[in-house]
Structures are given as C-alpha cells and as structure tokens.
C-alpha cells in the first residue's frame, strides 16, 4: 500500500491542536515547554473551553506562552501569576483560570504567592515547569537546582553550605489545606506525556468544580542550560532529577 493511501483525513489519529497558533515556538530544540503547551491546548480544546479559558503567563522562558496558546492571557510580573489568577478567578468564577510558571518564577521570587494562593484554596490550576535552572536568563541556579549541579552561578556545582538545598515546593503545597490535587509528572516519553495530560486535565476539571488549588509539576529538561543534547537531557533527568523529585501524586482529594 502506498503511503499516500494512508495519509488521508479520515485516517488521521493525531493532529496538531487547533488551539496552538501558527507561530513557531521560540523554545530551544527539544524543550519540554513545547510538549506541555501542546497538552494544554489539546485539553482546553477537548473540554470545549476555548472561549472561557484565561491563562496567566510568567516571566521566564514561557513569557510568550500567549503567542502559542490561542486563549485570553494576562502576562504577570515575575512570580505573581498566582496572585493574578486569584483575582481573575474570583472576578470571573465561570472561567477556566490557570497559571504557567517555571521554577524560578514559582519557587523563588513567587514562593509567597504560590503558597498563599494554594492555602486560600483558590480554584485555579498551576502548571509548574521544573527544569532546575533559569533558562531565559542563561542557565543560572534555580531554587530547584540539584546539589552538585553546575549552573552559570554555581560553576563548580551547587553547594549546600553556599547555596542551600533544592526546594521541593510541591511537597509544601501538598501540605496546605487549600490544595486539592498536587502531582509530579514528566513528558520525556510517550507514556509520561499521556499521564501528564491526564493530570493537567484533572487539574483543570478540579478548578471548574471548585475543589481548590491544583498544582501539576512537570519535571522537565533544559538541554541548553544543562549543556546536553535533548536525548541526553532526558536520560540525565531520569537518573538525577527523579531521585529528588519523584513522580506521582503527592495529594489527591
């Protein structure tokens, strides 16, 4: 059978989500951000919430998330996305409100907003990309950087005595009475992508059901920052990141 007999509209089983814009993403080749953007676009489409979804973009690599995911967005100041999402959801409770944040945004400068939004049980979904490094500014240490990991500001490796310890902020959020669902996922393999998608969908559904704050941490790669190929990054992540940030649900009520 000729390949052109297979490539026909009626045989298509996987397509680019229509909620992704035509813009080429500015992310580096192999970056996990693209996969997660794709999942968010797919889920909003599948939930039929294109017209009522409002995203909050962070400062960091995903600062232009609104150029790729074609729903209404507000661009937050660094770290403040959960505060913005709080106001948007309270003022428009019928909307699907989510933040999209990296580890520097969410777990360093925005720790206060993260903890307090979750503690108030705001009916928002927080999508948290943890690649243990500041990607946008050129690979500096993040709060989640592993001990011994080399970054631009820990050129000889992160030392606990100088830099403190990697912060597992999802574990903190899971302890708060206001959070309903906290999970840690990844997107390096087809199976992982499917699980991550189910988790984000659940977070979105929770927010519409008014169950409280959901947080989906995606343990991710930053191959430019890590100075590895995308494949090597996936392997490195599995070998090193998962030990400190083990995958699975931390809370599901």
């Amino acid at each position: 059978m000729d390949i052109n007999d297979i490539i026909k509209p009626e045989n298509r089983i996987y397509k680019r989500p229509s909620l992704l814009t035509d813009s080429h993403m500015h992310y580096c080749p192999g970056c996990s951000h693209g996969v997660v953007h794709k999942l968010i676009a797919e889920i909003i489409e599948e939930m039929g919430m294109e017209e009522s979804a409002i995203g909050v973009a962070p400062v960091g690599c995903a600062v232009f998330a609104y150029n790729y995911i074609d729903v209404d967005f507000v661009e937050a100041a660094h770290g403040r996305a959960p505060a913005l999402a709080t106001a948007i959801k309270r003022l428009q409770p019928d909307k699907l409100v989510f933040t999209y944040q990296g580890d520097g945004d969410l777990a360093a400068i925005g720790t206060g907003e993260t903890i307090h939004a979750a503690n108030r049980g705001e009916n928002i979904a927080i999508i948290f990309i943890n690649n243990a490094i500041y990607g946008m500014t050129g690979g500096q240490m993040a709060p989640t950087t592993l001990l011994g990991m080399k970054t631009a500001t820990t050129p000889y490796g992160r030392r606990a005595d100088l830099n403190g310890y990697p912060l597992a902020i999802s574990n903190l959020v899971a302890q708060l009475d206001g959070s309903c669902y906290v999970t840690r996922q990844s997107v390096q393999s087809p199976a992982a992508v499917r699980k991550a998608k189910a988790a984000i969908r659940k977070a979105f559904e929770n927010s519409m059901a008014g169950k409280g704050t959901s947080m989906v941490e995606i343990v991710s790669t930053c191959n430019s920052g890590w100075k590895l190929t995308p494949e090597q990054s996936n392997k490195w992540m599995e070998e090193h990141m998962f030990a400190k940030y083990p995958l699975g649900d931390l809370k599901n009520v």
């Binding site: 490539i7 089983i13 996987y14 192999g30 951000h33 693209g34 390096q188 393999s189 087809p190 995308p230």
Partner: protein, 76 residues
C-alpha cells in the same frame, strides 16, 4: 490477519531537529535529514523507513513543536 499500517507527516519548517521523535519511535521509522536543512538551518525529521510505521503516535506525543501528525489504517 489484520495488519496496522501507519504514516506520519512532519511539518518540515516547524521541526527543530531535536531528535526526540527519532528516539521515541519503537519501530525505527524516523531519522533526521543527514544533509538537508530547513529555512532555520535544522536537520528536520523524516520517515526514512515509512513501511515500518505502526501509527502508534509516540513521535507526535513527545514532539515539542507539534509538527507531527499521525495516520493509521487497518489492512485486512
């Protein structure tokens, strides 16, 4: 016995040649263009062994740039 046949299309100009689809493919269908590059200078992915494709979508799932679409038929 019915046989599953698959095929993918890759939006060449969107592809950044990250190779993650190549690595994710269980049937060794995909490769990066060894010499040819797209307008942005990336060696984009293509079906080097199209006959082996089983339409499992693994490549499309891990593609960060959503440039792969997947087709599948059941051959009786």
């Amino acid at each position: 016995m019915a046989k599953i046949r698959g095929a993918v299309t890759i939006e060449e100009e969107r592809c950044k040649g990250c190779n993650l689809c190549v690595a994710a493919c269980p049937a060794h269908v995909l490769s990066l263009q060894p010499k040819e590059v797209n307008n942005r200078g990336y060696h984009f992915a293509f079906m080097s062994s199209p006959e082996k494709c089983i339409g499992c979508s693994s490549c499309a799932l891990v593609c960060p740039d959503a440039c792969i679409e997947v087709y599948r038929i059941r051959e009786e």
